[in-house]
């Protein structure tokens, strides 16, 4: 039975979905306790449905959604690897979920120990001195890192450093975070190899530069081979280097941002460390810092004193707090489980296989699709559907056609420097058989794009809806249901 009504449209007056315990204390007369104009005049339109209604409704909705467990999800820059089930079980233990953040270190030693150990493990993986787990996501990690950059220069009375440099291939969060912290954003171009243009960088560097933000491997999936030269140049001019860890899945146990000269690095636990993306979140974006930046980390810092874990708030140079409490704890528990079950060799094998899988797909598609920077890639690569677009089938059409074939499409139209971009990131958790099937689908679509491009424009046909009108949604926004 097809029933696509909203939960509100299923509401029947008087129906209930949950029975609360009957109160065993005296009833308070709310109307006499509170001033009348403080009280609600009309009750909110929250639906009145039974528990069965709720379960059926949201089960049906889930069936109109696609997760990593549903199938292949090669969404570039997002590292849609499998989310191990044991991690979910560990995060749902009462001894974690039912902990209040303010109960004090004496009664939360287990949580604090886990946070402390994660700081140590992630510091080792990143090659950093210390990690804060407070940022809720990558973008908040960026904001935190940039606040630390600001605090560092300010502490040295160096007030003229107002610029943050980002490559034109960077994630949109980089310039947006820099602007949020009050920096001026300077974009530098990529060179013909798809890497930072060293000469352009040289021209930009002066004593007004606070730092450079870089993803390595970059968003084209290419390792910035000149990274040591880049970090020398930035440091020589007095700036700091920020590592956007979105692509860390390429290099775990192989190379470390700290050794490359980065002063600050974030990791996305919801990418590299297998925690689920949750339809958009929650994630977790811890950042690690080099030794000289440790005093600026957000408070509190979890420290170990003898055999006890404590929360240290007494840090005069700290930038303060960026989020309530200590971070997205239950996401951190999942990442902890992942690191514990993978071990050092497992993490390295994950990165090696992720890179192998990406190169395998690249090699098998290079004859039919343009690959603008076609050389050994890291964990992802960017192909361009320009050839197909010329014939009338764009990257968007190919993406929508993949939906009909049971795949989540790659990231499209990013990075901005590649026309008709499709960014493919298979991750290590996909079998060669899955990769082969995806390759076959992509090859078929390339052929169709040549022979019958119109048919791609009608995709998707097998999804729960056909192609949706995004322009209409933005032009006349309907953002809520109304009675």
């Amino acid at each position: 039975m097809r029933d696509e009504r909203l939960i509100f449209e299923k509401s029947v007056e008087g129906r209930i979905g949950y029975s609360l315990p009957i109160s065993d204390v005296p009833k308070v007369n709310i109307n006499s306790l509170f001033d009348g104009n403080l009280l609600r005049e009309n009750s909110p339109e929250i639906p009145e449905v039974s528990e069965v209604d709720v379960i059926r409704h949201y089960t049906k909705l889930s069936q109109r959604n696609f997760g990593v467990d549903s199938g292949f999800y090669p969404l570039g820059s997002c590292t849609m690897k499998y989310n191990p089930k044991i991690n979910e079980d560990m995060a749902s233990l009462d001894g974690f979920t039912q902990m209040h953040p303010l109960q004090g270190p004496e009664s939360s030693q287990g949580c604090l120990e886990l946070l402390y150990r994660m700081d140590r493990y992630l510091s080792e993986i990143l090659g950093m001195e210390k990690v804060t787990l407070q940022p809720a996501a990558g973008a908040q990690g960026e904001m935190t890192g940039l606040m630390i950059i600001k605090a560092y220069h300010t502490s040295r009375n160096d007030h003229k450093r107002v610029k943050i440099i980002v490559p034109d291939s960077s994630h949109g969060t980089n310039p947006a975070s820099a602007a949020l912290v009050g920096f001026e954003v300077v974009h530098i171009p990529s060179d013909e190899r798809g890497c930072v243009d060293i000469n352009a960088l040289k021209e930009t560097l002066d004593d007004t530069v606070a730092g450079l933000m870089l993803t390595n491997p970059n968003t084209l999936g290419l390792f910035e081979e000149d990274i040591l030269e880049i970090s020398r140049m930035v440091h020589e001019c007095g700036g700091l280097l920020y590592y956007d860890g979105a692509n860390m899945n390429a290099i775990m146990g192989i190379a470390r941002p700290g050794d490359m000269g980065f002063d600050i690095a974030h990791v996305n636990l919801h990418k590299t460390f297998s925690t689920p993306h949750g339809g958009g979140g929650p994630g977790s974006g811890p950042i690690g810092v080099a030794k000289e930046l440790v005093p600026f980390l957000p408070v509190p810092v979890v420290e170990k004193q003898d055999d006890c874990y404590v929360l240290d708030y007494d840090r005069p140079l700290s930038i303060g707090k960026v989020k309530s409490f200590y971070g997205n704890f239950s996401v951190i528990v999942r990442a902890f489980s992942y690191i514990m079950t993978m071990g050092p060799q497992g993490l390295k094998e994950a990165s090696q296989t992720a890179v192998l899988n990406a190169n395998y797909i690249r090699k098998k598609l290079e004859d039919l699709y343009e690959i603008p920077y076609n050389r050994t890639c890291m964990h992802e690569f960017v192909l361009s559907a320009v050839r197909q677009a010329k014939n009338g089938a764009t990257a968007l059409d190919i993406a929508k056609s993949l939906i009909d074939r049971g795949y989540h499409p790659p990231t499209i139209y990013f990075p901005l420097i590649v026309k008709e971009a499709m960014m493919v990131e298979p991750t290590e958790t996909e079998s060669p058989e899955t990769l082969d099937q995806f390759i076959e689908a992509m090859r078929e679509l390339a052929k169709l794009a040549e022979e019958d491009p119109e048919s791609l424009k009608k995709a998707p046909r097998k999804a729960h809806v056909t192609r949706l009108d995004e322009v209409k949604a933005a032009r006349t926004p309907v953002l809520r249901w109304s009675k």
Binding site: V68, L93, P282
Partner: protein, 457 residues
């Protein structure tokens, strides 16, 4: 031991290398300068089997005093409410939790429709015209609101009540430090029948034509319900916006901030079915009146039609966002808290409008009962006079820290010590009593407090 999450066998990997035209996996990394290549394994513990991990993790949780084995009277922004079983059965469906942000709308209709329903529920609760699909937490929702306000009316001062959750104020201060926005804090009445509410005389004095927004929390950090209408009128006199920090459960009983003159309503959605989780993940919600819709931060889901005219949902107004606008975006947020928003949506659907009212009124009944029971022990004294929701301030005869230490021995997680955040409330104790507590637990608390304060531990 090979990881069971990596399916490619050694043999398959060799064939793949052959296809690529290289001899070893190492060759794939030749772009990384040799001096950067790690020569040894990372210094991490050896891998554990699932079975071993379970055992070790359970040992960790045994070092915690959690609210399933202890009775929790601690709130201060995070609350121990009843969570219906049905909630986690929905949120543990893989199609939801293992999916990404719904960029490909046609294969993400489930989460998109759920977020549209979430936005509707938040708009309904707060009495606003539209809400976004979530932010990190109440604190981050507040700094986003302040940034929005200052950009909207091009002013750079915000007047913030000190009775706002100190955790939020700390985050606000550090995030805004370099923004050029000045924060003016205003105090609360310490005496009289309005004690515990925002000091309206101080508020009036702080306002000027530089004021971008007034920020008030209701119920405030002390659990006391504020007169939003009065503050909104004052804000309007200087053409400033009113930002209301609100609690979603309380809105089952109290008037929606949107109906009292608030322009932006933000808050923490954790009480809506989300476990306390040692403080994260939380659920920031963000709702606005019409003129501010296109300036909202974060993901927004909108209704549209497909090519056959059927209703469908997409991420919309994306021209505000970082992936399009880069440094000119309304916010840097990308990943949000969609699963926590789904949790809240399922929770509210289960509760319904009557259930939500019942939760809110039981919070009032039980907190009033606890307040009276504690006062009756003569071991704690009254601090404020204004009526409260779910949470109240009292001053025990002994220091809250010491009291809490003793209570823990009886498996009671005591209230919040206000001394550090409010020097004028030294020795005061903030106690939260939700619908989850019963009479016996409250009686036990009162009894233990009496004994401890009278030295009869």
């Amino acid at each position: 031991m090979k990881s069971s999450y990596i399916p490619a066998t050694k043999k398959q990997q060799e064939e793949m290398l052959k296809t690529i035209g290289i001899k070893s996996i190492d060759e794939l990394f030749s772009a990384i300068p040799d001096q950067l290549r790690l020569k040894e394994d990372l210094n991490l513990p050896d891998p554990l089997s699932e079975h071993e991990l379970k055992k070790q993790t359970q040992e960790l949780t045994n070092k915690n005093y959690d609210a399933s084995r202890n009775v929790c009277f601690l709130g201060a922004g995070i609350y121990d409410h009843i969570i219906p079983s049905a909630v986690s059965h929905i949120t543990s469906r893989q199609e939801f939790y293992t999916s990404y942000t719904p960029y490909q709308a046609e294969m993400s209709q489930g989460i998109l429709q759920a977020m549209f329903e979430f936005q509707t529920m938040i708009a309904e609760l707060t009495g606003m015209d539209a809400a976004n699909a979530s932010l990190y937490d109440g604190a981050s929702a507040l700094y986003e609101a302040v940034i929005l306000a200052c950009r909207y009316n091009n002013r750079n001062e915000v007047v913030v009540a000190r009775s706002i959750n100190p955790e939020y104020r700390k985050v606000l201060a550090s995030v805004l430090r370099h923004s050029g926005i000045e924060i003016k804090e205003i105090d609360f009445y310490c005496e009289g029948d309005k004690s515990g509410t925002v000091n309206l005389e101080s508020l009036r004095k702080a306002l000027s034509d530089k004021t971008s927004a007034v920020v008030i929390q209701s119920p405030n950090f002390f659990g006391i319900v504020e007169d939003l209408k009065a503050t909104s009128q004052m804000a309007k006199e200087v053409n400033a916006l009113l930002i209301a920090v609100c609690d979603p459960i309380s809105l089952g009983v109290f008037e929606a901030p949107g109906n009292l003159g608030a322009d932006i309503a933000v808050g923490e959605g954790q009480p809506l079915g989300n476990p306390m989780n040692f403080g994260g993940p939380l659920l920031g919600f963000f709702a606005v009146k019409k003129p501010l819709i296109r300036r909202m931060p974060g993901r927004i889901v909108g209704e549209t039609t497909d090519s056959e005219g059927k209703r469908g949902f997409v991420l919309t107004l994306q021209a505000r966002e970082q992936h399009i606008r880069r440094e000119k975006a309304t916010s840097n947020i990308c990943t949000n808290q969609a699963m926590c928003a789904l949790t809240a949506t399922v929770y509210l659907s289960l509760m319904g409008k009557k259930g939500l009212y019942e939760v809110a009124s039981q919070c009032i009944d039980k907190s009033v009962y606890a307040y009276n029971s504690l006062l009756n022990t003569n071991s704690v004294s009254k601090v404020f006079d204004a009526p409260f929701f779910r949470e109240f301030v009292v001053k025990p005869a002994i220091h809250p820290k010491k009291l809490n230490d003793e209570l823990l021995k009886d498996n009671i997680i005591g209230g919040y010590d206000l001394s550090t955040d409010y020097p004028e409330l030294k020795g005061c104790w903030l106690v939260a009593v939700t619908e989850k507590r019963d009479r016996a637990e409250i009686d036990l608390l009162a009894d233990r407090v009496k004994n401890i304060c009278q030295g009869g531990v």
